[in-house]
Symmetry: D2
Subunit: 348 residues, 4 copies
């Protein structure tokens, strides 16, 4: 039976998103992992690099150019941005690819060059890439050969904001996104700033007015609003391993009430398996989505007249990365969208 | 199809083990939850008490005496010890029961009375109860109507020690178990000692020479050794939500080497889905089993001649409670032992 | 020599702010603790209730009505709001009092009644009370007999905002305060919501648009702006024991630049021992003030034209409570303002 | 007045022990910091490297060979082991030195070579060095020119064990030290294993039977016992920034009772400012010593006849490193032993 499974390769499997893909695919009946690649950790087994996965039967990690792509159907690409464009451009055309890096997220290659510091290396491929915020691009994802998997912050921010902007319920000129992220978003690279002792017991903002997820968010919001949108986006690093909370401050459009916002989002996401709009008064917490592909959204009135507050939570490694990647790949291969993603959150 | 599922009731569903049972059964094809009970939280929904489970379709929580047990096949009982004996004694005899409390774990009711401060209230039922450390009592569990699900610490300690004592490889008179537990083992009751501010950033021993899991461990080790065993068991509370590490210090039997211990355990658990004996030099960590039903065991030489060190890790809420309960119930109903328990650990 | 020390009583010493007062006064040459009171823990020693202080020579805890106030000069009052007003009203008039509760913070007793659910019980005393945000009320504090010690959130928010509103550099109609707090702000009472397992590894907003510190902040900002100010104030609970970060989003007044804001705050706090305005580009973190009476303020340009971002951090138990109380009491007795508060932050 | 202060240099100031020395000396009336050295961070200010200390007036960090040692009286040396021996050997002889590395802790240079992998580079200096476990070597420290500051684990283990071995109250052949450490003990170097995401929410043993603090502990215990002692020493890494708990399992000498052990330790440390033996039944916790130079010791009966349990806690960065270094330097210069070390622990 496993002969009929879709054969998946994970490029860049030695990072947290790679391990998370393995975790999710291990519980997925439709895929079989046939190749894992790494850079510095080539030759090691997944179980050595990630002992929590040592019980699985997995191929050893090889170099990205050592994979026989003729025996692969699906590629999850978790390589660093910058190198990704050329590698994906060099893959055989029969492959379906979900790219978890930032390399194909910005449709405007000039914007890419401005924020990432070098020219885009595969502009033709960029035109083909579908931005895979699944709930908002399902049909395009189904037909896509290359999906740019959204960033973690952009996922948490756009899921509530895009429908509200499309519906004209909020002022596109006054959007403030105060986001709080767990440390896994910074990856597994050894950096002083991410040591336990540097992160535990405290919080601080970072990348103020300069984080690369800002243009990605603005791309989505601009399309929804029908004109250029500039947002305040202020991420914070806090002592949790997983999770993002975006607390979003908005100004209501003339005539709109907070209940209208909640109503619009409830309608928009009514049939969705992973996005849930909470009843009035219920506050989402990151710990309610840990390990799951869920996004919870709460909408609240502000004391300042004419303003509202939206809280949106996801697990940055699941809906913010590997889970949404599996969700997209499911669609690309005509599988059930929820396959491999049914796990409930882990709490406490 | 769900009509053919085994109908499960969870008594005491408002605690962490109750929520964990719901999480596991939600991903289990063989059971359908038909009743949830609570005490103080009667009338609330599971999603109110545990928002991470709010997306599931579950019955509201009722009192333990409001359940129509005629429509139930399987009972998971997570009530406080003391009250459990009478409640289980009063259940209809057609039910299969896994009790997660301590009420049926000690075969000797005098020992129970000594450690729990009151006479055993169902001694006849006690004689029928099977102590469900699954890997060591599989056949008895299969035939059982009432399984006493082992304590978390006893699970982590007995899995390595019982086979070694049975094989005569270690000295039964010189066993020291230094255990470190996450805070969920203390339950969800509001206690000053378990506040975030009281637990974060520190560690301390508790229940020194007086913890109720000591007689439970000694019961199993005595049976394995064929004579009374008294152990040092010193639990510690530390800032993690889930997990137990038991670092166990043993004296080797005359002629035995550390490699013999590792070899014996490897043979003993060779075919097991959930217990894994690690290769020489690999150290288990609690974070490698989080959310899973796994137990990892490492065996190490001591610098002191003739001594060895065993590290055993589990997730206290899964293999140490709800996961092992599902594992036992699977056996009692003739299902695959791993059903509902295939989830990989969540890391980081 | 200790005979010449000011004799201090701490009412409500069994909570975190009480313990923190003891810690600070233990290193303060000018005060001698002559009385400690508690409610449920009457009769216990400080060392039993707070083992980290067991090495100090302290009076046992008595009831609040068992203190001989004739032998007391200074009272730190850390009782719950509601009961505080009558107790302070009943104290002998020779005493100087710093009240750490909310009971005398709101000058308008109608506002108090609205937010705290009962009529103010000592309106005459309210008129006498000085709101002790030390750096902004130093002269009044010096002459005060009763100081209302500010709340933790209001301290972190008002220190940057009041000077900017006074200088007319920001728009009083568009102030958003997204605050993140450690758990000690919730006190030591045993509550399910503050258990380690409920708080660790996650974050959520609480008290959205309804937190009692909102009117306190607005009182100060309105005075500074010269007209009524309503703010968005959204606190979040996160897994750290101490610390508050207020990330404040402001709209610049016409003609004002971000550098003007930083310049104004730098000038305003140039001579201050505890408030430090950071150079451009330096981001404050809560962990940089842990255990100290410091407040660090950073000012940043937003990508949205005409907007700015201010980050303000304090230790909620020190500058946000007990440290500022000592600072105020120092002034009230003519001592050096920094006495007992010279400790550097503890990191990591 | 600051002209009369002892002029101190801190070599290797860019690590956690360096920052901790600065913190303690900032509150110490007797020392003035005249030089700070770093390696990779040469040229930076202390406030840049450690923002929590940015408010202090400190010299910039220079290379270790750029210090004018003629203007220095006291050297705190926090350099990596291996390089330290030659650097200290090259310092002018008028300097008093406390070395926080492991380079002069082992009196037997052959043992040093065996455990540290290279020949000792200053054997003559080694003979002069005093092992500065202050309470057990006070007189020698007073006269010393070079003090080898003990390791963190050895401090926590030897303080209780040395007096008991000297008094013949425990069996030197049966000592098991199960130690739990915070992450700051691993230093500030960027390592994958010490990332927040790798440490949070879990625990594991490391350096089993191979940690370099074992021979240091055995050196002290052997001297106390009057014959060679080999111990089991098993350290664990857990999610806290500071603190060590050593849970020590001992066999009582013939005729000795647990009360004798507690009594002996109580007598031995009766007059000590920093070591406190707790009353029967009181369990020490690491969080009760955070930030202080305290060591708390509890002694408990085991359920296994003839055995006892000792819990010993310190802050690894204070009594386990920088605090004990200041304590030693105080003695070397004839200052009050407690100068600069009077701060109470920080809790929560």
């Amino acid at each position: 039976m496993s002969q009929n499974k879709i054969r998946a390769a994970i490029l860049g499997a030695s990072g947290y998103t790679g391990a998370e893909l393995v975790r999710l695919l291990a519980g997925h009946g439709g895929f079989r992992i046939v190749a894992l690649t790494a850079d510095r950790k080539v030759g090691q087994t997944m179980g050595t690099v990630f002992p929590h996965l040592a019980g699985l039967d997995l191929p050893a990690m090889v170099g990205v150019d050592q994979v026989d792509y003729a025996d692969v159907d699906a590629v999850f690409c978790g390589l660093p941005h910058g190198t990704t464009q050329e590698i994906i451009a060099g893959l055989p055309p029969h492959l379906k690819v979900v790219d978890l890096s930032a390399d194909f997220r910005l449709a405007d290659t000039a914007t890419y060059a401005q924020w990432y510091g070098h020219e885009h290396k595969a502009p033709a491929l960029q035109r083909e890439a579908v931005y895979g915020l699944t709930e908002l691009a399902r049909d395009a994802v189904r037909k896509a050969r290359l999906v740019a998997n959204p960033g973690c912050y952009p996922t948490s921010a756009q899921l509530p904001l895009v429908p509200l902007l499309r519906a004209g319920l909020i002022d596109a000129n006054d959007i403030i996104i105060d986001a709080k992220s767990g440390v896994s978003g910074a990856g597994r690279a050894a950096k002083e700033a991410n040591l336990y002792t540097e992160v535990a017991g405290g919080i601080h903002a970072y990348g103020i007015a300069s984080h690369r997820h800002a243009p990605e968010i603005e791309q989505g919001l601009s399309a929804a609003a029908g004109r250029p949108v500039v947002v305040n986006f202020t991420p914070h690093l806090m002592p949790m391993s997983r999770g993002i909370l975006s607390t979003i401050y908005v100004r209501l459009a003339a005539g709109a009430a907070v209940a209208d916002l909640r109503g619009e989002l409830s309608r928009r996401y009514a049939g969705e398996a992973f996005v849930r709009v909470l009843p009035e008064g219920v506050v989402p917490a990151t710990r309610h989505v840990t390990g799951s592909n869920h996004c919870l959204i709460g909408v609240f009135a502000d004391r300042v007249p004419g303003r509202g507050i939206i809280c949106s939570v996801i697990d940055n490694l699941v809906k913010g990365a590997s889970g949404q990647a599996v969700q997209n790949m499911n669609l690309m291969f005509g599988l059930a969208e929820t396959a491999g993603l049914e796990q409930q959150p882990l709490f406490p």
